[in-house]
Symmetry: C2
Subunit: 323 residues, 2 copies
């Protein structure tokens, strides 16, 4: 069991991130957070046995091997660097950093401390249907992936959002924030960490200066990646967003309806495969989520470039959109 | 009954275009085509009573009020200009022109002759589900349209394609050709004929120099438009392409699965509406196709800018992608 702690529970992603690390072999030894975020009650309900402790106490506790953070986005890089310097590995909610300078500091701290920093791209790592899509691609079911298209609408939930959600300086902007999820998927399915951003847009339409629509186009090897983001999920949708992943390969296609099949089948993780054979629908809701145990097992190995590359591209996209 | 003729049946779009004009009140008085295109047998089977005549004969026949053309794309502008100069209206298969110079000639000929030129954007005008999406948008079902996204895969059917299909000089390129369909839809649903192209790409992946993947990003008023094109429809799909239209509005979304609901419901024209109410599925296969009668009724009215604007943008996109 790997003892871990959580510093910053401001985004509700803390719930599933901590739960998945527990399931993968982590033991939650304590948590810290600033003030009383709206996520607090839900956190205590989910993790009633873990004690609230001071962040400094967790950072100096020699038992703690790993720090998770879902703090306010602008605070995550500082928490990550402090944790790395204290000899802990770090798993951050996305976005993991909001500027190149922050990312450089994290990278340098990883090198100095010989510790890992990773980002929980939950729209891949916490979606069983992606596991299935991944397996199908790896097995050659659609040939070489030539296009990755992501529709990523999110529900605004304006009434329950904390102050920092509305503040570009603290949330990082729509591309750095929810865009990083999708950049992760483009790189993953394109099979490369090298990509060029050929278009990046962030628009403030309904509640300026809040960025509520974003678009990113990438080229990654032979594949194109197209990302459409917004905060316009309609009230009637029974979940937070009708997230879709479309993969086009040399000999087939995969569509993943991640969280809902609107006016269609019940449940989540609907994979639709078409190749030489007729269209096939696969219920992938029971597929495993291998990221978390792979992350824990890999902590003794070399530091991978992927979360750095994704975060760098997301920051670059945000810069391009705002220049 | 408006007497019309067809000059050039090289693309099989001639079948439905002529049939729809017949249904809307046209009377086919004859047709001409160069040589023996692969579409000839199918044409004669569908229109056994219409005589094959010389193109010059049709152009000088005072009875003929309208010329349709689905000739090889590079030949369409010349046919259109000749028809206009002979005092006929013109309805062209897309693409209607492959260069700005051709488009300028058509526009000038329309003005001189006081005749109409239009393009049959069949992926809108011949799709009943678009009629329904249109009605829903007009009725305010999703509020103001803020994004139009089109997935437009097409089946290559390599074995049955004529020479000109593979020749950039004669087909106009993937963006000018099948891209023009989608640009039409972006402008239509954005409610404007003014748009900026912010990204245009045409890639030759599997059979260079044939362009088999394209991408266009537009901004049209407050709306964004994203167009993904390819010739990669897998063999197992029971139709030529899994064309999708996604509309995102201020208070709802519409997805249209135009030609197939893969591994889902049978039939075509599946409209999925989500707004304040829960997701609703609408079978729109029986909806009317109002374009053709509106076109015939409008021939006495002023010439609209729409087909010119679409074609201009498609040509511009093709130029940007190849520069």
């Amino acid at each position: 069991m790997i003892p871990f702690a959580v510093i910053g529970i401001d985004h509700r992603h803390c719930y599933t991130m901590a739960a998945h690390i527990q399931s993968a072999g982590g033991r939650l030894v304590g948590w810290a957070t600033d003030g009383e975020p709206g996520t607090l009650d839900g956190w205590v309900r989910r993790f009633p046995d873990a004690p609230r402790r001071a962040a400094a106490d967790l950072l100096t506790d020699p038992e703690v091997a790993l720090i998770l953070t879902a703090a306010v986005p602008c605070d995550r890089p500082g928490i990550a660097v402090a944790a790395l310097e204290a000899g802990k590995h770090v798993l951050s909610d996305k976005p993991g950093a909001l500027s190149r300078a922050q990312l450089d500091e994290i990278r340098a701290a990883c090198t100095r401390a010989d510790r890992h920093w990773a980002v929980d791209f939950s729209e891949r790592f916490e979606v069983p249907g992606v596991t299935r899509a991944d397996a199908l691609v790896r097995d050659g079911a659609i040939g070489e992936v030539l296009d990755v298209t992501l529709l990523a609408p999110h529900r605004l939930n304006a009434a329950t959002r904390p102050d920092w959600f509305w503040d570009r300086g603290r949330n990082g902007g729509i591309l750095a924030d929810i865009g990083s999820h999708q950049i992760d998927q483009v790189l993953h399915f394109a099979g490369t960490d090298e990509a060029q951003i050929v278009l990046a847009e962030a628009d403030c339409l309904l509640r300026p200066p809040f960025q509520d629509r974003g678009r990113i186009a990438l080229r990654a090897g032979r594949a194109t990646g197209t990302i459409l983001l917004n905060w316009f999920t309609p009230d009637g949708l029974p979940t937070w967003g009708d997230g879709r992943l479309f993969l086009t390969g040399t000999r087939g296609t995969i569509e993943l309806r991640k969280y809902v099949d609107p006016a269609g089948q019940p449940g989540t993780d609907h994979v639709i495969l078409v190749n030489d054979a007729p269209p096939e629908r696969i219920d992938a809701a029971g597929d495993p989520l291998p990221f978390f145990s792979a992350f824990l097992c890999g902590l003794d190995g070399p530091l991978g470039p992927h979360p750095f590359k994704v975060t760098e591209l997301a920051i670059r996209a945000q810069e391009m959109a705002e220049c």
